[in-house]
């Protein structure tokens, strides 16, 4: 079944799938069945890391890279002259099982170019998932891509076999999407998301009634936005993801720095390097929304439509709101502790537990893993008396934080002479 010839196909179809960022394998906890293979670990497991630093958890493949669409940002657009090929469903299923048995992967991520029409393609993807679950008794993770425009019933079926479904929005605003992907509009991507989220809710309700009611996409759904291919601001992007998290209950929104794959297309910007810094800041902002109780309007708004590339979004928020600081580590509310730069979710938990035993000072905090070089300007604690944001003013704190980052550069040394922390001037 699998032979030397699969090598070439794998090269093309893994290469075609690599621009999809999603690789999470978390969110489902499933134990193995009698005589079956595989389980799904709730926390997800990475099995390797590519040289670009990204985790490899799933066997990420395109079933086929033939496509009837011509989206400007996509390597597989029909006007591109590239080698094209397709896997048979059996090939994908066998490859998944063989890799899985060797502990190379956590499961399968299957996408595809649009063949003939969305429904036909969706049927092929469902076929692979079904084959794995029934013929191979496979209980590992499966992530299926939903093809925009596919029939509602097909989406409902896909959710019964897969752990996670995803539809990629790719371009964060409708006007730009229409320019770059003439065959798509917001409706064709947002509609399937709505169907998936309704099905998930329904299945959750049913499982409250009957314990054995079928699971529907138990690990939820995710999507991806391309960053830097259009002039959309971070404000637009984060507003969209915030709406997706709250209204569609998405598990993840992925941000993918645009890599110029079709340089000849002048609808797209000419970038020398992908906007990796911006992508990183967007993920930080995303984390703030999901785990730190921030609203998107606190991170970016009409006055500050873009994230600061030099400092992380939590620091910039704190610098814009100096009146809330400094806070007392030994008394502050947990939600406020989460908002202090340099203190993460793990540290907050440790602080909350530890302060029941003892009053905490800065050396305790340091040992617990609080990043004091950032946190020191925003907190007071037992004994620590350092200059905080009220005395230093936000502008100077900003400079001090930036200076710590580029301590090696000459600039930093010059700055040092002029700020009041320098003992000579105090």
């Amino acid at each position: 079944m699998i032979s030397e010839s699969s090598l070439e196909k794998l090269k093309i179809l893994a290469g075609a799938a690599k621009y999809d960022v999603s690789c999470a394998s978390s969110g489902t906890k499933r134990t193995n069945t009698q005589g079956g293979i595989g389980n799904a670990a709730a926390w997800g497991i990475c099995h390797s890391f590519a040289e670009d630093g990204r985790c490899i958890s799933l066997l990420k493949l395109m079933l086929s890279n033939y496509c009837i669409y011509d989206c400007a940002y996509c390597i597989n657009r029909k006007s591109n002259d590239i080698p094209r090929t397709s896997f048979t469903p059996d090939e994908v299923a066998n490859l998944t099982i063989e890799f899985y048995r060797r502990n190379y992967i956590e499961g399968l991520f299957l996408s595809s170019g649009v063949l003939r029409n969305p429904d036909h393609t969706m049927e092929l993807l469902i076929g692979v998932a079904k084959k794995l679950r029934t013929e191979h008794k496979y209980n590992g993770y499966i992530h299926l891509k939903t093809i925009p425009g596919a029939n509602q019933l097909l989406i409902a079926e896909a959710g019964l076999w897969a752990d996670r479904l995803s539809v990629n929005i790719e371009i964060p605003s409708e006007e730009n999407l229409k320019i770059l992907a003439p065959d798509k509009d917001f409706k064709s991507v947002l509609e399937p998301m709505k169907i998936i989220s309704n099905n998930i809710l329904e299945s959750k309700e049913e499982r409250k009634q009957h314990r054995k009611a079928p699971l529907f996409s138990p690990s939820g759904q995710s999507t991806q936005l391309i960053i830097g291919a259009t002039n959309d601001t971070d404000h637009t992007i984060l507003k969209l993801s915030s709406a997706l998290y709250t209204r569609r209950d998405l598990k993840r929104v992925y941000y993918s720095g645009y890599i110029p794959v079709n340089t000849y297309d002048n609808r797209l910007p000419a970038l020398n390097t992908p906007p990796l810094r911006r992508e990183h800041r967007l993920y930080q902002a995303d984390w703030l929304m999901r785990f730190y109780g921030f609203r998107s309007s606190e991170i970016v708004n009409t006055e500050n439509p873009n994230l600061d590339l030099e400092l992380d979004p939590k620091v910039t928020w704190a610098l814009r709101n100096p009146h809330l600081f400094p806070i007392d580590i030994n008394k502050a509310d947990p939600l406020m502790l989460l908002r202090v730069p340099g203190i993460g979710t793990h540290s907050v938990q440790m602080i909350l537990m530890a302060r029941k035993h003892n009053r905490l000072n800065s050396s305790h905090l340091q040992k617990m893993g609080v990043v004091m070089k950032r946190a020191r300007y925003f907190i007071t604690c037992n004994e620590l008396r350092s200059q905080n944001i009220q005395e230093l003013k936000p502008e100077l704190v900003r400079q001090l934080l930036l200076e710590k980052k580029s301590a090696a550069s000459d600039n930093a040394i010059q700055l040092k002479l002029f700020h009041p922390m320098a003992p000579a001037l105090r």
């Binding site: 794998l10 690599k18 293979i37 670009d52 630093g53 490899i56 060797r102 530890a354 035993h357």
Partner: protein, 256 residues
């Protein structure tokens, strides 16, 4: 100076705690295994493992803190470092001697040190789950070898047992020379007298490999190469997540 020695088992360590309380004498140094013979000054007390005494200490830990904490102590013991027995003795004393549950008192240096080591042990265990690579043998069973920094193999067995329930497998610790074998029914501990394994990369001798094993390793290597976006190459992050010490056991990172 008080020196105690024990047989380097977890029950042995708990017995040691029991003995110290009974004698009201606490060791300044703990030797494990055969190390006891090389002491020049002072006398060494050799602790004889007693399961009943060990169980009393185990229950004492649970009643003074929590069952979770007792299991954490076991996991830290598996760190298998020369200094862990003494750290654990200090930690267990703190737990037992105080009126309140001290396991969350992170202003206490011993507690922080304990928690940090616990994190490291758990991380190493999860790395086994991540980086173990099975090779299919001629008989159709699967073999993997590894050299973990800490003695964490026992922590990983339940995961592999559930996941790979329908294939027989062996996972072998090359550093400590023992492993676990699953025969489709039970998991048992095994020690091989003679290993037909290349200890440099954990690969079985090619005469033992299944016919298509090399092909799948090749496919995996091809996949690994194709999935990387060259424009985003990031060596620092790559090495941070995939430290070099694992490379030799991973087909995708070895030259072959």
């Amino acid at each position: 100076m008080n020196i105690f020695s024990f047989d380097n088992t977890f029950e042995g360590l708990l017995t040691l705690v029991f003995e110290s309380y009974q004698r009201k004498q606490f060791p300044d140094e703990i030797l494990s295994g055969e190390g006891g013979q090389h002491v020049l000054f002072g006398s060494t007390l050799t602790v004889i493992t007693d399961d009943r005494k060990a169980e009393r200490v185990w229950n004492g830990i649970i009643s003074h803190s929590s069952e979770d904490n007792a299991h954490r102590i076991y996991r830290v013991f598996l760190a298998d470092l020369p200094e862990t027995p003494l750290l654990l003795l200090k930690y267990i004393r703190l737990i037992i001697d105080s009126a309140y549950n001290e396991e969350t008192n992170f202003s206490e240096p011993v507690v922080v040190e304990f928690v940090k080591l616990h994190q490291k042990v758990c991380k190493e265990a999860s790395r086994i789950n991540m980086f173990v690579r099975f090779q299919k043998t001629v008989e159709g069973s699967y073999y993997a070898s590894f050299a973990p920094m800490y003695n964490v193999l026992p922590l990983c067995i339940p995961h592999f047992r559930d996941r790979f329930a329908d294939q027989s497998w062996i996972i072998y610790d090359l550093k400590r020379n023992y492993g676990f074998l699953y025969d489709l029914k039970d998991v048992s501990r095994v020690v091989f007298e003679e290993l037909k394994v290349n200890t440099q990369n954990g690969q079985l001798h090619s005469s033992l490999l299944a016919e298509d094993e090399k092909l799948f390793q090749q496919l995996w290597k091809q996949y690994y190469k194709s999935i990387c976006i060259l424009e985003r190459k990031n060596d620092k992050v790559h090495r941070q997540f995939l430290p070099k010490r694992f490379w030799k056991y991973l087909p995708e990172k070895s030259a072959l």
